[in-house]
Each structure stands twice: as structure tokens, then as C-alpha cells.
């Protein structure tokens, strides 16, 4: 397949006796938003970190843009943008300075304002990360992941801990990044997020992928097995009520 940008085959990660990632196989097409879902400890982050070159690969193969990750980590690093689950940034530097600095690590001259505009933080260019709200921090993380104009950007639980307004706002940012030609791989706990955002999702549990398809297709398959909710389907959820009452506008700035 020529439009495959990421190819993962029989990926394995062991921590002592524990097999955290147990023969995971999937591929991601160019310009796709690909979701990895699963409960805590399912192996989502370990899978991502092996692809991102952060963890040694214990078995299997990962190819990104047809480059073998295990043997060509340095080349792969130039092609990817990464937002880690819990990474912070250097203190005492403002957002512009941080982006310039990250640019220099790739040997690139970047335009911090343009990057910040991408994630709607241009008015915070002179602020420090510690003074940002949760949603702003995540958006800044994404801006930092974009400095090298990556082919693929990896987002590890970018919306965890955010309020509904900030989450929806971040979805908008992610969709726009995709529309600019980038591929997005995202992990999340939120099913409605996966449904809204992802073209395809892989559901992981105990280190294995137990389902992989388009969200609507997975729902259809479940229903075709005769599943029905034991509560009457409502036309609105509590989140809809919350957003109706508090509005869609962002609160953190």
C-alpha cells in the first residue's frame, strides 16, 4: 500500500515477566487520524513510545515512511512530532523561546508566532508554560510537536483532565492539523472523543489489539450481535446539558 505511512508488525515489549505489548500489528494511512483506545495498563503508551524511539523494541518491526524505526531511530525522529503524556518544559522560557529552542534541536529556524497561531495561542507568546491552563498547555505541547513539520504526530491522551470546552477546542485543532496533510496517532480513554475524531480506532487490552476498525463499523458489529442498552436511548447526554448551560466558548483564557 503506497499511502501507508506507519506500519507496525508483531510489536512486543516486555518488562521482566510482564508482556506489556504482545504482538501488536496495525498500519496507519497518510492523513488518517488513528486512535488507540484501551483501559489503563493496556499497553497504549508503551506501544506509542516504541514507535517514537523512546523505548527499545523487544520484538517485531515498526516502519515509518518506510524507514525501520529500530535501526534508524535518528532519521525517524526527524519525521515525527511527539506530545508525551506527562512532559513539562523548561522553566523561565516563554513559549516563543521554547519553540525556537526546539526548532534548533532539529537545526531549523522556526516562526514561533505561526506555530502558536496554529494552536490559537498567539496571544500567549510571551507567557511561560507554568502560567498556562491545562488546555493551553496541551495545545502548546502540540505546537512544540509541530516545529519540525513532521509527517506523523503522536498525541498521548491529550485531552485527559480537560473540561468539555477545552476538549472540543483541542479536537478542532487536531482536525485542522490533519487537514494540513499530517497524520495523527492519538491515544485516549474517551470513547466519544474517538468517535468524533478518529477515522479508525484500535482497541487494546492486556497488550493485544482486540478490535480495529472505523468507529461506526465497530458499533454496527456490536449491534448486529444483538446488543441493546438496558436503558432507553436518550437523545441528549449530560455532557450536552453541561455544554448547553455553560456554552461552547473556552474558559481558560
Amino acid at each position: 500500500m503506497t499511502d501507508t505511512i506507519l506500519e507496525v508488525r508483531n510489536l512486543v515489549k516486555r518488562y521482566g515477566d510482564l508482556v506489556a505489548v504482545d504482538g501488536v500489528t496495525f498500519s496507519v494511512a497518510k492523513q488518517e487520524i488513528f486512535g488507540i483506545l484501551g483501559p489503563n495498563g493496556a499497553g497504549k503508551t508503551s506501544t506509542l513510545e516504541m514507535i517514537e524511539t523512546l523505548r527499545p523494541i523487544d520484538g517485531g518491526e515498526v516502519r515509518l515512511n518506510d524507514i525501520e524505526v529500530r535501526t534508524h531511530a535518528q532519521e525517524v525522529k526527524r519525521l515525527i512530532g511527539v506530545q508525551l503524556q506527562s512532559s513539562s518544559f523548561f522553566d523561565k522560557l516563554n513559549l516563543s523561546e521554547l519553540l525556537l529552542l526546539f526548532g534548533e534541536m532539529y537545526g531549523r529556524q522556526v516562526d514561533p508566532l505561526q506555530l502558536l497561531k496554529e494552536v490559537e495561542l498567539e496571544d500567549k507568546a510571551k507567557a511561560q508554560v507554568v502560567h498556562l491552563s491545562g488546555g493551553q498547555k496541551q495545545r502548546f505541547s502540540i505546537a512544540a510537536a509541530l516545529v519540525n513539520e513532521p509527517l506523523v504526530i503522536f498525541l498521548d491522551e491529550p485531552t485527559t483532565g480537560l473540561d468539555p470546552q477545552s476538549r472540543r477546542h483541542l479536537w478542532g485543532v487536531i482536525k485542522r492539523i490533519r487537514s494540513e496533510g499530517k497524520t495523527v496517532v492519538i491515544t485516549t480513554h474517551y470513547m466519544e472523543e474517538a468517535e468524533e475524531l478518529c477515522d479508525r480506532v484500535a482497541i487494546m487490552d492486556q497488550g493485544k489489539i482486540i478490535a480495529l476498525d472505523q468507529p461506526q463499523e465497530l458499533v454496527r458489529q456490536l449491534l448486529s450481535r444483538g446488543f441493546s442498552k438496558n436503558r432507553v436511548e436518550r437523545l441528549a447526554s449530560l455532557e450536552d446539558v453541561f455544554l448547553d448551560l455553560t456554552g461552547h466558548s473556552l474558559r481558560d483564557e
Binding site: E52, V82, L84, K92, M105
Partner: protein, 348 residues
Amino acid sequence: MIASLKIFFRQREAILWTLLFPLFMIFLFGFVKFDGLGRVTVGVVNDAGGKAAPFVEALKEVRTLKVIEGNRTEELTQLGKGEREMVVIIPASFDPSSNDSLLAYVNDEKPQEAQLGALILQRVMDEQAFRRSPPANRIVLWTQPVKSRNLTYIDFLLPGVLSMSIMQMGIFGVAFGFVSLKKRGILRRLWVTPMKPDDFILAQVAFRLIIVMMQILVMILVGVYFFDLHFIGSFGSLFLVGMLGAVVFLAMGFALAGISKSEDQVAPLANIISLPMMLLSGIFFSRSNLPGFVHTITDFFPLTYLADGMRGIAIDGATLAQLTPQLLGLGIWCIVACAVAVKMFRWE
């Protein structure tokens, strides 16, 4: 490499503090006059032997005076170094019963002490002349100022504090800084960029060596301009010894950073290593009062080598060749510390 260097240079506050803290210590201790104990040190060169003995004995009775006997060259050298306030020469021809005069060389930078000493001396001589029967003629004391270098506590303290702050920067700066980067996930974020780990370490070391040079420069200049530091050494030698010391302590910092997972683990380890050195390596107080075996142990502390080396250069104008023992000591520590650091250091 350049990019990683920039990371550190943009930590403006951190730089400021590494420079300000030792200065603060100097200001704090510099104004305490440990050496102003109010006694006048008098060197006595007695070439007259028994004839002058009663006079010398009488001088020793005076509590304000600290009398040290010695030969002429020795005593004048001590006067030149500022170890004596005055030196009285009693010539072989001295005869207490006949009309005579005495010559005393006095320290030109301590006129008050010298004057006091001269007054006391004159009085002792007058008393002795008076007690004789028949009373002898008065012996007159002539004084002649001599140029001296008066080393003070600050001359001892400043190179010591400078050495100590090099140690602190190495051990605490690296160990804490690194563990914090590790814990907060900043390092992981850096590893997904193409930056090379070796460059990162190199930048850490280069950055801190530059800071060491700035520290040496600032401290010496402040010492000279504000505290009359008697600096006669070469900056080149100071930089060289300072950097050698810095590498020893940086390696210790990396070793600590390697075995610790959080700041809570680093703090006690860093203190266990640095506190004994801070107190026993002759930073604030001379090691000469330490009991024998402790003295011997502290001889081998890396901070002792560094402080003695820095002090030797700054105050005595020692050349690198004269500091061979210190350089050798630091060199051995350097090899040991780097070997341990390479073995202990972990990125994750």
C-alpha cells in the same frame, strides 16, 4: 550542541544565583574581623644575647604583645608577609646601661598597631632604665616603616569559598538539575528530538565550566576592589585548577544523578559528600587545628586539593609546578570520579 548549550544559558536566575551565592558568603564573612584580636605581634631579633635578656623577658610579660624571637632575615620576611606588626633589632653592641638607641621596623599598612607597639616598647625600656641604680639613660626607639603584604582572613576565605562554590555547583547543580529534568519528563521530550545524548552531557559540562570561569573572575575582582584581596596570582592558572576541580565535582554530580530517582534521594547523598568537605577542607577555618588523624584524612579530600591550589595561586602567586601535589591529587580524583560516573550514570 549549540542548541543544548542555549537551554542552560537561558536559565538566567540559575546563573545569577550561582554567581551571587558565593559573593554573599564573602560579604557575610568578609565583614567579620576574625583577625582583629587586638594583640600586637612583635618579632624580636636578639643579637646581644644575655645582655638583652631581661628586656626581652619584660616584653614577654606584656599581655598586649605577642613576642616571637627569631633571626634577622626570618623576622623581616615575616614582617614583609604581614605576619608581624613590628620587628625590633637588638644589635650585638647593645648595652642597657649606656646611652643607646634601638631600631624597630614597622608594618606600613598597620600604623595604629605599630604605634601602639612602639609606645609599649618605649615604656618597657623606660621602666627598665629607671629601675637600675643608678638610673641609666633613656634608650630611644627609632621606627622605620617597611612595606608589607598583610594577608587577612579574606585572603584565606575567598579562594576557599570560591573552591566550595565550584564543588556545590558540580555536585548540587548537576545532581539536582538532572534529576529534576528526568522526573519532570523534560528529558524524555528531548529524546524524541534528534538531539544527541552526548551533546547534551557535553553542553552541561561546557556550560558549567564557563560559569566556573565567570565565578572565578567575578569573585577575584570583587575581592580585590571591595575587600583588599592580596591577589598576586595568574588568572590562567586559577582557571586551569578551577576547571580541573570542577570536572571532579561535575563527575560526582553525574554519578549521584545516575543513582537517584528523585530530589529526595539526591539531597541526603549530596550533603553527605559535600558537608564534611565544606567544614574540614580548610574553607572557613584553617585545618591546622584539626586533630592528627582527621588532618591526615582531610589531606586527601578533593576540596582540600582544590582550595589549597586556588589559595596558593591567588595569594602566594604559586606556579602550577609548585602545585604539583594538588594537581596530582585532583587528577587522581578526576579519574576516579569520572570512572564512577560512567558506571553509575543512567538516563532513565
